[in-house]
Symmetry: C2
DNA sequence: AAGTGGTCTAGACCACCCG
DNA sequence: GGGTGGTCTAGACCACTTT
């Protein structure tokens, strides 16, 4: 009963685990004034202070370490990391991505249509080539300037009637709220290319400018494909900033 | 004492934790013949079978889930994932990367020199602009065809005498074996660009071909910068294949 | 020698799904 | 309701670094 009480008690704003609340608290403490390489309290001290088990403390610190906020040295302690410029690559919507870069996201609808999937898109989505998909083509904007041309393909059966809302709402908000579709993971292939004159015109940039070509297949939390997308990003206005880590486990 | 005995006993080949051994065992079981979406034994069953605690089982499954090998559904079970085409972005050397793509890695040394860091490289490495860095420029090959032009800068004080081995050994093997320098994490910025005529000639490709420009700062396990590198990858011969995940923790 | 993080145990309660 | 994964506890021993 104590477990449940504690959980309910502290839920002023959000339903969260103890370790997640502790993690957020530690982030606040670090941001409030700890210097890089300054030592945090020991795991046992934190456990005592916040009246949780040491395992719970370690879970919070594990996440902070994965996020690059702290590093740990066995026998010595846990220390604040040097501030990072880049974050690990995350699955974010275009809108979130632009806001994180301090830009105002926007969108210009080019085409909405129901079409047969065809071989390539059908293969990516695990559909027969004859099965219908909803095709949404948009020019994505940041501060009213074109950033990328995006073609999204969704299995028709998963999103009946979605075309009526495409112009107005966020596509992914609609998918989540109307159909319960949430993309949990996406596999991407990123290529370097140059823009065809037609695409270049849509993106208001010279023909043959450098660009990223991104193919993405989005999966739900049970690894079922629910989205295939192709995007062309202006190379002069977009870059990837990512952190990569040495793999711990061998083989795979 | 039982813990230590068990650890020593099973260390025929490697020194590993119980959860890591269990993880590798499960990978072998999955690869041996489990179908996608087939259910694994329950966590409690695995704990009994392998005579470990449930937490240890969960640690193994956590890693498999992060690697995309399994997915879990609360109340239902743990299931084998659909095979993945792409893996999460990992910190690998060029050589490992090429071997993973089934290509024979190679290298053509262009320049080795000791130079002042300058403002940009010094900033990235946390050095004064006047401090000396070792500059190694190489054309990296796959199956004897040029893939990228790579400029690596290392603080001179960290790698005294390295220039004598640059032509012969793997650069990162040398750094690790001679100086104990291991890159644990790297921050990268990836841009789309086209190749200057000079670089294009080195890479044996037409001028103004599409290319990736990659800036990388490598850090050791205590978040100290130990390497700055710039690479230009031929867009026709290189692409990024990565998985991205919905972030679990909020804020950050 | 003392203290730190790394790993593990045995047991408990919760939220969720229906094999 | 019974079984599943998700979270948490209190305690233990190990490997490692160092006030």
């Amino acid at each position: 009963m104590t477990g449940k009480d504690a959980r309910v008690m502290a839920n002023d704003e959000q339903t969260q685990t103890k370790s997640e609340r502790l993690r957020q608290h530690l982030v606040a403490v670090i941001d409030a004034g700890l210097e890089p390489h300054e030592r945090l309290p020991t795991e046992r001290d934190l456990a005592d202070t916040f009246d949780v088990s040491r395992l719970t403390v370690r879970r919070a610190l594990d996440r902070l370490e994965r996020d690059g906020r702290v590093y740990r040295v066995q026998g010595a302690g846990t220390f604040v990391s040097e501030p990072r410029i880049t974050k690990s690559l995350e699955l974010t919507s275009f809108s979130e991505d632009m806001r994180a870069r301090g830009l105002q996201p926007g969108s210009r609808l080019v085409r909405v249509a129901t079409v047969p999937a065809g071989a390539r898109i059908g293969y990516a989505l695990g559909l027969s080539p004859a099965e219908e998909v909803l095709h949404v083509q948009r020019v994505r904007l940041a501060d009213d300037a074109p950033i990328c041309l995006e073609d999204v393909y969704l299995p028709r059966v998963l999103v009946p009637g979605l075309e009526d809302f495409v112009g107005t709402d966020s596509l992914y908000d609609s998918m989540e709220q109307r159909y319960g579709l949430v993309i949990d993971r996406a596999d991407q292939t990123i290529r370097a290319t140059v823009l065809d004159p037609g695409v270049a015109a849509l993106l208001e940039t010279p023909a043959f400018s450098p660009a990223f070509q991104v193919e993405r297949t989005g999966f739900d939390d049970r690894s079922r494909p629910i989205e295939f997308a192709e995007s062309l990003y202006r190379g002069d206005r977009y870059s990837y900033e990512i952190s990569v880590f040495r793999r711990s486990g061998a083989s795979q």
